[in-house]
């Protein structure tokens, strides 16, 4: 289903050709206005026609509940649903597709682990290590767990530059935490953490390791086997897939030992009124009718990204990050939060513009058809570290180019003009 535009030959992504694949980016958002510069992919990406058409095809041709129907539509739906699981597994180099559980989003994936693995393995007095930079979705589930179990949360500090303080990690690891959970890439600062090294140290200390891959899987080559982690959570909707799609990968031994999260249809082996036994993974964790079309759509998204090549996606965004640094640096009174260099940094820029509130920045940019995000980015504790309530964030993806950055810079000039700081 991926468009036939040839991109294989070039080393760089052909952004014009890619953009042509995304209907949202090719519409007139406001009559007569400039095209949309969509700079909020870290919240949720746009979807290529191949993904939209996969959904459409599903609903028009073979929509049915899976795993149960002995009829043709259901057989096709089941096969494609499971094929999507294999595509996802290959994409993150999972040893087995059965280790990939379809969920709604990263949040559900992490809550699944917190409920199922957590309540069995984290007990009174146990320590769970997180970082001060976590998204609420990788913080609140552990707060809820810790409160319930009487466990304690400890937070790896960050350096003034917005990187994790690995010495502090080592200190916390001496407390022999049951779990170390951290985001691979910070959605607020763009920092790419050294996930391999953090995982290695955590494993040496005997911890189970969960990586929040919401901002890494869409943007870098991610290989669970070379990461060495135990769980990886990510959102399909941030990587060109449908809303409502996400994945939890877990090591088979762990998943098999875990009790169910939700109970219901499809996750059982045998049900009696007095008690039940559970189906094999992944079915054990997919209770009820899944979002079949969305999972299949995620498969199409993975195919699209694979065709682009994740190495090239990463290189493309690295290039954008460099250009964004240079251009944003020209805007007076603009402060970029997080690492001040492109190394170990994703194409996600949180910034402050003088004392203009991010909502006002975003609203004025919106009037120029530039979509950025303003707020705490679900990282209130981190915002407090930055001494701010909110920032403006521009995040980039495969369909963005230098022109988007130029427009952003021009738009910021307009903001300064309106707020009288120019």
């Amino acid at each position: 289903m991926v468009s036939s535009t040839t991109r294989q030959t070039a080393t760089d992504l052909d952004v014009a050709a890619i953009r042509a694949d995304f209907p949202v980016l090719n519409q007139e958002v406001r009559p007569g206005a400039e095209r949309l510069s969509f700079l909020d992919s870290a919240a949720s990406s746009q979807k290529p026609a191949s993904v939209i058409e996969t959904l459409d095809d599903y609903y028009r041709r073979y929509n049915a509940n899976i795993h149960r129907g002995v009829y043709q539509l259901s057989e096709e739906a089941t096969q494609r649903y499971e094929a999507a699981r294999h595509l996802v597994a290959d994409f993150i180099n999972a040893p087995s597709a059965r280790e990939c559980i379809f969920v709604r989003n990263t949040t559900e994936a992490i809550n699944l682990v917190a409920h199922s693995w957590g309540r069995r393995n984290v007990n009174a007095g146990d320590v769970v290590v997180l970082t001060v930079m976590e998204h609420h979705s990788n913080l609140v589930p552990w707060q809820l767990l810790a409160e319930e179990q009487g466990a304690e949360l400890a937070f790896v500090r960050m350096t003034p530059e917005g990187r994790l303080d690995l010495d502090h990690l080592d200190t916390l690891l001496t407390r022999e935490p049951k779990l170390v959970a951290f985001s691979h890439v910070s959605n607020a600062l763009g920092t790419i953490h050294d996930a391999v090294e953090i995982t290695r140290r955590a494993k040496v200390a005997g911890a189970t390791v969960l990586i929040d891959g919401a901002q890494s899987v869409p943007h870098l080559p991610v290989d669970v086997q070379s990461l060495g982690c135990d769980f990886l959570a990510f959102s399909g909707h941030k990587m060109l897939g449908p809303m409502g799609s996400g994945v939890l990968w877990g090591r088979r031994e762990l998943l098999e030992a875990m009790p169910p999260f939700m109970g219901g249809g499809s996750m059982i082996r045998k049900v009696e009124l007095s008690g039940s036994t559970w189906a094999d993974v992944p079915a054990k964790f997919e209770a009820g009718t899944p979002a079949v079309g969305d999972a299949i759509g995620l498969g199409a998204a993975v195919e699209y990204l694979s065709e682009l090549g994740m190495d090239r996606v990463q290189a493309h965004e690295h290039g954008l990050a460099g250009y964004a640094f240079a251009r944003l640096g020209e805007v007076p009174e603009l402060t970029i939060h997080g690492p001040k260099m492109t190394e170990g940094r994703a194409a996600v820029f949180s910034f402050s513009l003088g004392d203009v509130h991010p909502h006002d920045v975003a609203a004025i940019l919106d009037s120029e058809n530039i979509a950025v995000r303003a707020g705490h980015h679900c990282c209130q504790p981190l915002m407090r570290e930055l001494g701010d309530v909110a920032t403006t964030r521009a995040s980039f993806y495969v369909y963005n180019d230098h022109d988007d950055i130029n427009r952003l810079v021009a738009g910021l000039g307009r903001v300064r003009q309106i707020f009288g700081s120019a």
């Binding site: 909502h359 609203a363 004025i364 707020g375 309530v389 707020f419 009288g420």
Partner: protein, 130 residues
């Protein structure tokens, strides 16, 4: 859109907010936060003989939330408590006189939420109840 939203009335109240500060002691006081952006406002009220004698607010937030709260304080000073209770969000939006999109509604209403929650003595007010 930017031009219609960031009219002089908004920018003026944003740059020079009226009634900025705290009242200590206050008869009514309430703090609320916009969970979408973390903006916070605390609003204090003194009431004498059933009439709002003094009002003050503090907090940080966008031009819309700050200007709207500033304008709100001007609207209620000298009014009776009953009049303040009867104040609706439409009254405030009319006074703002700029087009507030749904996404910015929470910003525009944050001060009013503090006022209502404070005066009714409830922990928290929902937008729909304003």
């Amino acid at each position: 859109m930017a031009d219609s939203l960031y009219k002089e009335i908004i920018l003026d109240h944003y740059r020079s907010p009226r009634n900025k500060g705290r009242l200590d002691p206050a008869d009514y006081s309430h703090e609320d936060v916009n969970p979408l952006c973390g903006d916070e406002i605390v609003l204090d009220l003194r009431v004498k003989d059933g009439i709002v004698s003094e009002v003050a607010f503090e907090g940080r937030g966008c031009a819309i939330s700050q200007a709207a709260t500033s304008i709100l304080t001007e609207m209620i000073e000298g009014r009776t408590v009953e009049e303040v209770k009867a104040l609706t969000k439409d009254d405030l939006l009319e006074e703002l006189s700029v087009p507030i999109s749904p996404a910015r509604m929470k910003c525009a209403l944050l001060g009013l939420k503090c006022l209502k929650a404070g005066i009714y003595g409830v922990g928290h007010m929902h937008d729909d109840d304003l």
